[in-house]
Amino acid sequence: MYAVALRMCGNREDAQDCMQEAMIRIYRAIATFKGQSSFATWVYRITMNSCLDELRRRKARTSTSLDAMLENGFSPSDETDTPERHSLQAEQRRLLEKAIAALPEDMRSAIVLRDIQGCSYDEIAEVLDTNVGTIKSRISRGRERLRSVLSQQPELFGRHTV
């Protein structure tokens, strides 16, 4: 849950708020959970919705462009001061996180659920309340975008690491 919130919101504080909100919603709604879906899916859905709500609220106030986030002190990950901090992988990760956070929400949510959390297409369709076709298209576009962002830093992503 936290992971989803973090990836969706882009920073720890907002992720915390989202998670709190999600937890409360879960607590309130737990009585009405009838098992139409799996519990995990249900939790994902609630978490995603609270993140999206929070993002929409934030959108009303500030822009979510990458630059703005960078200005506001964007710190997507739990950064501890270790030697790895400056490793290649760490750099790669940071870039990726920024790229994800820069994605439009619909793509971001699909990518987070698919490539980061590893959910199936059906599951994602249920969580996001759309059909699989839409999901696939979002993922496709999202991946394309990510790839293009990453390819702009060839020193990090140019190699054959597959």
């Binding site: 720890r12 937890m23 309130r28 990950s77 990518i111 990453l150």
Partner: protein, 422 residues
């Protein structure tokens, strides 16, 4: 299989998601190996995906976040519980209002029924202050009426058959057995003398002048045309312990005057007056006498016409029976008439020694004392009545006590809960 770049790109996502069959997959890889652009594309795509998959490695939920959401949920839970209890107490309060009002109403009803159905007004009869049987005032109108009716009576107490003018309604006694009831010129008084009342009185007097007062009493008796039915003196002068006990028969019309005159003698310590209403008995007996006399007359007539000796004997036997009955009734009537015409006064004259405290003559303090004693007596009687009332009440407690208990319980439900609710 040959693949062009367009197809390659189209299948790229499927490749990443491992949704391609082996054949297509191989084709993709071959194309990627052959085509530099597509190769880089594939590379980057795979890298990105791999990186994504590994992105959350080592990611843990920060403690403060955990604490925060836990606090949030707990706050939510508390709020929910609070709302629930509020709703509950509201409902309870509303129920309480109902319960209280219903309980109050029920209590009132129970009380009403218990009291109403078991209480008899009779139980509340208390003796009035002069009602203890010592004083019985003769209905004055009756006496007045009687006085009128007695006006025509002769001095002798026995009504003679020789046509003595009697008050209407008075029964005549004829020795030959002719019918009795005669109406005279005094018919107008018939309604007045329909009531037959026998009056009597008693006086208890103390005196220090025994002899003087005794003689005075004798004078009084003669003066009012009364006579001593009995008279008795006991005690001796030395001890100053003399007592005169007498029964005086006073003509009824003069009774009040006689008693008033007696008031001056010594100190009256007891006054009693009685009026016995024997109207129904008197009229009863009178009626019977009528019947019997007519029977006798019939028998006499039958006697005159009797044919056989056996008839004669029978008739005479019957006539004797009837005569005996008549005589019995007549004797009662005579007695009543005598008491009617002469009232009995029971008199006790007690001598007080020199050192006896002078009884105060009907002064204010005497009257106050009398009144006080009366009240004491009244109190005693009241106490007795209360005891009687209590005894009567006891069985009713069988109903009252459960009712009271129910009432108390209901009232406690109604008002006791008030202290307990927050």
């Amino acid at each position: 299989m040959n693949m062009n770049c367009t197809t390659f790109r189209a299948n790229l996502d499927a490749y990443i998601d491992s949704e391609l069959d082996r054949k297509t997959r191989r084709a993709m890889e071959e194309h990627a190996a052959a085509c530099p652009e597509c190769g880089v594309l594939l590379n980057q795509a795979m890298q990105a995906v791999t990186l994504c998959a590994e992105l959350n490695e080592g990611l843990t939920v920060p403690l403060e976040c955990q604490a925060a959401w836990r606090r949030a949920v707990r706050a939510e839970a508390d709020e929910k519980a609070e709302r629930k209890s509020q709703a509950r107490s509201q409902r309870r309060a509303r129920r309480n209002v109902w319960v209280r009002s219903l309980a109050g109403l029920a209590a009132a009803l129970v009380l009403f029924f218990a009291v109403g159905t078991t209480l008899d007004m009779d139980d509340f009869e208390l003796p009035s202050s002069r009602d203890s049987g010592r004083y019985d005032s003769a209905p004055s109108e009756n006496y007045g009426a009687y006085e009128e009716s007695a006006a025509g009576m002769s001095a002798s107490y026995m009504a003679t058959p020789a046509g003595a003018s009697n008050a209407a309604g008075d029964v005549l006694l004829e020795s030959d057995g002719s019918t009795g009831t005669q109406t005279t010129a005094a018919t107008a008084q018939k309604s007045a003398s329909d009531v037959v009342v026998l009056r009597s009185a008693a006086r208890s007097i103390t005196t220090k002048e025994f002899e003087t007062d005794a003689l005075f009493v004798n004078d009084l008796v003669s003066e009012y045309g009364a006579y001593f039915e009995s008279r008795r003196v006991t005690g001796n002068a030395e001890d100053a312990s003399r007592m005169l006990k007498a029964t005086v028969r006073v003509p009824s019309e003069s009774l009040d005057n006689f008693l008033t005159a007696l008031d001056v003698v010594g100190t009256i310590i007891v006054r009693e007056e009685y009026a016995e209403d024997i109207t129904s008995d008197y009229n009863d007996v009178a009626a019977r006498l009528e019947v019997l006399r007519s029977q006798l007359q019939q028998l006499n007539e039958m006697n005159a016409k009797a044919k056989s000796v056996s008839d004669l004997i029978e008739i005479n036997e019957r006539a004797n029976e009837v005569t005996a009955e008549i005589e019995a009734y007549e004797s009662r009537i005579r007695d009543w008439n005598s008491r009617r015409s002469y009232s009995s006064v029971s008199l006790t004259l007690t001598e007080l020694g020199e050192d006896a405290p002078e009884p105060v003559q009907k002064s204010l303090s005497e009257r106050m004392k009398e009144a006080f004693d009366d009240s004491i007596q009244w109190l005693k009687d009241f106490g007795q009545s209360a005891a009687v009332f209590g005894a009567a009440l006891l069985p009713r407690l069988a109903v009252w006590l459960p009712a009271a208990i129910i009432v108390i319980v209901l009232l406690r439900v109604a008002f006791g809960r008030k202290k307990k609710t927050k």
